[in-house]
């Protein structure tokens, strides 16, 4: 896949640190328009931080992040809110508003950002819910939904205003195999139907390799591998091999670094 095609998101030499703890180190990434791209890596490797940087919730220590040609961290709050109206983000557990019904959750952005009459909002909400297969749940409260259903409702809410960029933070976490496959297919089909660009942050290799166009692997804050799903499957790089095949030991050690085992057990040497 050519990544030089017109890019919607461009990340150049980005470094980011929380206080003194360095999270991302010299990251360069390109997310072309119309593609679904996965960012993979173990827990705590900086994947979610990357999404927050793209969404403007965090500012990089150095480097630049451009979305649709605008440097996201150079925008004031008004500019940031203007560009966020063209973005959607699916949070790890959906983040549905628990005091609102499914219908009101999906209608939330339409009511906040448009002057559409309530009859049109009604039809649009039902269409969005129909697209994720949950039109029949519009009167339910989030607490009445299963985990997979809540994720799909959140997906309908994310695409409510037909965003140009959709970001997914661990969309497959905690789902049963059927929901996993449904959510995976929805990510792909909604992206293609809307002509959007999707960034999927995940550690579910098998599910994401089925639906994405390109993969980035992050470990310890740097990109250690990238490529198309076929290239990833065939990769002989130790980290990618361990990650894709879920091996217990490898470049990512099983044991957290500690003192001498015999000493910790007070054994005489």
């Amino acid at each position: 896949m050519s990544l030089s095609a017109s890019a919607l998101v461009e990340i150049r030499d980005v470094n980011f640190a929380y206080a003194k703890r360095s999270i991302l180190k010299g990251i360069n990434m390109t997310f072309p328009k119309g593609k679904v791209i996965a960012v993979m890596g173990g827990s705590g490797c900086g994947k979610t931080t990357l999404l927050r940087l793209i969404g403007g919730a965090l500012k990089p220590t150095t480097g630049s992040i451009k979305v649709d040609g605008q440097t996201i961290h150079g925008l004031d709050q008004q500019g940031l809110y203007a560009i966020r109206r063209k973005m959607g983000m699916l949070f790890q557990f959906g983040a549905l508003f628990t005091d609102m019904s499914v219908f009101d959750n999906v209608a939330f952005q339409m009511r906040e950002h448009t002057n559409l009459p309530e009859e049109i909002i009604h039809d649009l909400v039902l269409m969005k819910l129909h697209a994720v297969g949950l039109r029949g749940t519009h009167e339910l409260m989030p607490a009445e939904l299963s985990g997979g259903m809540a994720r799909r409702v959140a997906l309908a809410r994310t695409v409510a205003l037909d965003p140009m960029l959709i970001m997914y933070d661990e969309p497959f976490a905690g789902l049963d195999p059927i929901s996993l496959s449904v959510v995976g297919n929805l990510i792909r089909s909604l992206n293609d139907a809307l002509g959007a660009t999707s960034i999927v942050v995940t550690h579910d290799v098998q599910e994401s390799l089925k639906i994405v166009d390109y993969n980035y692997f992050i470990a310890d804050g740097v990109i250690i591998a990238e490529g198309t799903p076929d290239e990833v499957r065939a990769s002989d790089k130790p980290f990618v091999h361990q990650f894709v095949h879920g091996e217990m030991d490898g470049p990512v050690p099983f044991h957290y670094p500690g003192g001498d085992y015999r000493q910790d057990l007070h054994l005489r040497t």
Binding site: G55, A57, L80, Y81, A82, R84, R85, M87, G88, M89, F91, Q92, F93, A95, L96, F97, T98, D99, F108, Q109, E112, H113
Partner: protein, 262 residues
């Protein structure tokens, strides 16, 4: 070395307290700046008025009645010694309107509605609902926090008034209906002793100040709560403790200014 460590920890605590005070002040300023939405879309505030005000009615009405009944009993026993049972009405009304109404209603409001606000906002933060709102280009201070703030500020004076009214009713039931104090002197003494501006308006002003303090503390603690179960429970406790102390300290200051020498 031990002293050095001790001094460092004191220093860190002071810096933390100053930082937190600044953060809280900034948060309060942001609520005021983003209050426009609360009035332009008043139904958002009305929804919160229901959950913080209407849902606190039962506890306020019941507590008010019983406090008034206790005042009636205790007041009668004390006044009887001086042969002034007829002054029971003014004693009950003045105690409630000036002090017990605003203070006890605010304490109950802090425990009932303040803690609920903290827990709700803390959990919204922990479940990423606040972040989701920000990512949808909706300002959570304007959409979530400010309507709750104004709902608290509006509802507490009304709840205090109801607390006092129920207290007067409780005092009447015990004093007049059960003990047999003369009904005419109960009401006429009350009418003569309570001054609208000096007593009633000052009481309302007190509950307005308490409303601002309790709601601002509750919202700040919720918004600042660490996004964990422990963090939210700690924030809820802090809301009740800090609000109660703030109410009692503010009450002393306000009373000193309002009723000094009267």
């Amino acid at each position: 070395m031990a002293i050095d460590k001790h001094l460092r920890s004191i220093g860190a605590r002071v810096v933390d307290a100053v930082w937190r005070t600044g953060y809280a002040t900034r948060f309060f300023a942001l609520i005021l700046i983003h209050s426009g939405t609360s009035f332009r879309r008043f139904r958002l505030t009305v929804k919160e008025l229901f959950s913080s005000g209407v849902m606190s009615l039962i506890i306020i009405l019941v507590a008010g009645t019983f406090v008034g009944m206790v005042l009636g009993l205790q007041g009668y026993e004390t006044l009887k010694r001086y042969g002034s049972e007829s002054a029971l009405g003014s004693l009950v009304a003045l105690s409630l309107v000036r002090e017990l109404g605003p203070v006890l209603a605010a304490l109950l409001f802090a425990s009932r509605a303040g803690s609920a606000m903290t827990a709700e906002i803390g959990l919204m933060k922990a479940t990423e609902q606040i972040s989701a709102m920000e990512m949808m280009a909706v300002n959570p201070i304007a959409r979530v926090v400010a309507p709750r703030f104004w709902a608290g500020v509006i509802s507490l004076p009304l709840l205090s008034a109801l607390f006092s009214a129920m207290g007067v009713f409780g005092g009447y039931v015990v004093g007049v209906v059960l003990i047999g104090v003369d009904e005419g002197s109960f009401w006429s003494q009350m009418q003569g002793a309570v001054d609208f501006q000096h007593d009633v308006l000052n009481g309302v002003l007190k509950s307005l100040v308490f409303g601002v303090a309790v709601t601002a503390i509750a919202l700040f603690e919720g918004y600042d709560a660490p996004p964990t179960a422990e963090g939210v429970s700690g924030a809820t406790t802090r809301t009740v403790v800090q609000s109660s102390l703030a109410i009692l300290i503010l009450d002393f200051i306000l009373t000193a200014f309002m009723f000094r020498g009267n």
